[in-house]
Symmetry: C2
Subunit: 487 residues, 2 copies
């Protein structure tokens, strides 16, 4: 597939490649423009909250979800369950339905015939999958069972929708569901899930926070929820992954039991964990800049672009470029040679917009010296010998990955601050994330949210703190909570 | 992923691995049992016509659709469009809506709120995609545009449903849509589509028929439809791929125009072509036998299984088996070593059921001689030296592929017969496909269908025939039509 094919597809009233991008400082505007100009998402589909993936955006998504599959496949099995859930199954689990009933799309007619049983479009698939788990689980030998699916899910969002972030059709929800004999094994699985997700975001060079959500913000039906958040350029946080310990709540409702070794029938314990295309929103937002997308090597549809500098013996320049193209392709690098009629400057601009990690410039002087000029997407410029170029580029890609991560981490760190009081927390959450002493009483938590006018992300995981006074009641505590304005 | 993990997942009231499969002769029963026992599809989901993919079935599907992607990706771009189509867009194209209105699922409520505009779940995506094409196409330079998506689609089937064959949720519809400047270029694209699909079915070792559907059976809105059918074990045909020349029908409705080189605005010409999970139904049905699945090498989730024959020095046998496992894995072969407690006979039975192309048996006597015993899924048995085994197995897999195809082709040929009269056609379509002289008059065609009590698949493509009398009116014609009972 050659991506230059799509060069005109993003044009239209609101976009087009020749349009200059707003500065990233003006984040919301920049984000919307970049989705169109970078050919990620076309937001002109005639239903609010439902978007079209451009081929280039789809290719990024495919690479990103390829990493998720790599991380899960060693001990999870991919499956596929139906989209529609009959009303009676959907309505069985009381806490769960309470959490979702305002958001569910209902199918009520087939052709011109009203359906006897209304069908819900999955907002998430617990109520589709667990009636089948009841049939699949017989004995302790059937566990642990770990499955996942990547599917479209639907939520009738009444709030302002935003492409990739708040959608009515989530096109690519990766949801994993696991079944275990004991509560402890399920708790361990939640840790495993968070570890895998952490590895996933590290591979995308995206720094993140891990928090245990407060009880009033956990998944409907869960014992507890651990979540991953990313700090976006405007200082608001985006929840980009969650893992839920479901205990035996759904097992009771759907009668999922197993015969223990002593012959007794016991309820199973379950977890579920999910990631949606919000991971793409984070990817674009964290790394992009005023010039456009900046994609990590592993997920870039085009990893290297070769731009011939057509001076002097043009045929000779093109010949060298074609040689390089072939050599890099053979090395498994996703590479394009841009032989279009545009001037080099226009090509640089275009491929920077597309986030291509490494640009090669090849002109007569480079050829004379046996080198190529290498420009990384973070503007680092160097010269490399043509001999052994493929390996050198892979090493350079690693350096770029480290640089992307460092830049992102520096930004994230600059937006997190420990605070002691409600006033400080309010000021800090204007710009980022506040780390606030909290005694863990629910009452103090609600007061914090009200007074700070921000959300509690919950207790940071894998961290410990020295005692400080709860920002509400003043009681000494070694606990903290993250607070932020959330997407 | 280790498939033995799923060994108990297919159990239940109606299935389970220990159940003996009905003979393939009793095709309908055999098919339903095999889907469950072979762990392809769980048909116990509580909505008619909607099924769950078991992990093993999903893995087959993933490999099969991997071939489709390989065949399309060189000149098509993968995209993703929304599932829901607003009523006003859906209702624009009159012929099209007439073809689908009885089959469309309608979403009418979001939460407890009735929607202002009803939303159709795509039965196919022309009416979702073409309003966007209107925005994407500006000039002749934007064409040809070739995109595809693999998505779930929905049809409210009122006929008897059948897993993978007649579904209310088609989980994996690959639909391609192309746009061209001229009618002739679109016609060429239909030929390209049929060529790609032909290659696809050849790689699955499945023989097929290519026909131009009669005008009364073309896609709603198309100029013409070319279709691919497979003869199933019971002699009925299954339509497993279609390519439609849409002319400018949708271009008119959705105002998709381009600026020609002379500056004039012209209507585009379009095609679309699709394949659904019916390709998996064909795969299973054509190659399977009384012992279970028989999978072509390229799509088998497990290509080779190693069964240790634990006699004499058991540790030595296991050591050799583990060595082989590592060597074959390193060669990129999907291989399992079955070290479960079952006896070899039970293991043979299990992996034959799963359709594994090649089984290796390794016992003390094999080890002594430096060989392994190789049993192909078509029961060919041979001995191969351990030295250079990986390459030898790949060659053996090619022979197996040829054998699978030959067997399937012999069956298909035995079920096609040229006939001269309506009576002969009626007799032949009891058992298979009749090739009937037809003058191409619509009136004669309808009479043929009525009198033969079978469907007209249409005119065979890429074939020529000598003159014969139309089976209805007796007029001399060099045209034929396939006739068959269809799924």
């Amino acid at each position: 597939m050659t991506y230059p094919d799509t060069k005109n597809k993003g044009k239209g009233e609101s976009g087009g490649q020749s349009a200059k991008l707003s500065p990233k400082e003006d984040f919301s505007q920049w984000y919307h423009e970049l989705l169109m100009t970078g050919e990620i998402i076309d937001n002109r589909y005639p239903v609010k909250g439902m978007c079209v993936w451009f081929p280039f955006g789809f290719a990024i998504k495919k690479n990103v979800y390829g990493i998720i599959r790599q991380l899960l496949d060693p001990d999870h099995q991919e499956t596929l369950f139906p989209l529609m859930i009959p009303e009676n199954e959907f309505m069985k689990e009381a806490q769960h339905i309470k959490g979702f009933e305002e958001e569910v799309y209902w199918v009520t007619c087939g052709g011109t015939t009203p359906l006897e049983v209304k069908l819900a479009l999955r907002p998430t698939s617990e109520t589709a999958i667990y009636p089948m788990f009841k049939l699949w689980i017989r004995s302790h030998a059937d566990m642990p069972l770990r499955i996942y699916q990547i599917v479209n899910t639907f939520r009738y969002e009444t709030k302002h929708t935003r492409p990739l972030i708040r959608l009515r059709e989530i096109t690519s929800f990766k949801e994993a569901h696991t079944v275990h004999a004991t509560w402890e094994e399920a708790a361990e699985q939640v840790e495993v899930a968070i570890k895998r997700y952490s590895e996933f975001y590290r591979r995308l060079a995206i720094p993140f926070l891990v928090s245990r959500r407060p009880s009033w913000d956990k998944f409907p039906g869960a014992d507890y929820t651990t979540a991953i958040d990313v700090i976006m350029p405007d200082g608001k946080t985006l929840q980009v992954g969650t893992a839920h310990h479901l205990g035996s709540t759904f097992a009771k409702t759907y009668e999922i039991t197993y015969e223990a070794e002593d012959g007794e029938q016991k309820l199973v314990n379950q977890t579920c964990y999910g990631i949606s295309e919000r991971c793409i929103a984070a990817l674009i937002s964290v790394h992009g800049d005023d010039k456009g997308l900046a994609l990590p090597w592993e997920v870039a549809p085009v990893q290297v672009v070769i731009v011939p500098i057509l001076l002097g013996d043009k045929e000779k320049v093109l010949e060298v470029c074609r040689d390089l193209l072939r050599i890099l392709q053979q090395a498994g690098i996703r590479v394009e040679l841009d032989t279009s009629d545009e001037r080099p400057g226009a090509k640089f601009y275009k491929w920077e917009m597309k986030g291509v990690p490494i640009r090669l410039e090849v002109g007569p002087r480079d050829i004379e010296k046996g080198v190529v000029t290498v420009v990384r997407r973070d503007a680092e410029k160097l010269t490399l010998p043509r001999e052994g170029l493929a390996q050198a580029l892979v090493r350079e890609a690693e350096r770029l990955q480290a640089a992307l991560y460092q830049r992102a981490e520096a930004f994230a760190n600059s937006r997190i601050r420990e605070v002691a009081s409600i006033d400080e927390a309010r000021a800090q959450t204007e710009a980022g994330v506040a780390l606030v002493p909290w005694c863990e009483k629910e009452e103090c938590g609600h007061q914090l949210e009200d007074l700070v006018e921000a959300n509690m992300l919950g207790e940071p995981q894998y961290k410990s703190f020295s005692p400080a006074a709860c920002a509400v009641c003043g009681k000494l505590t070694d606990k903290r909570t993250y607070m932020a304005r959330q997407y």
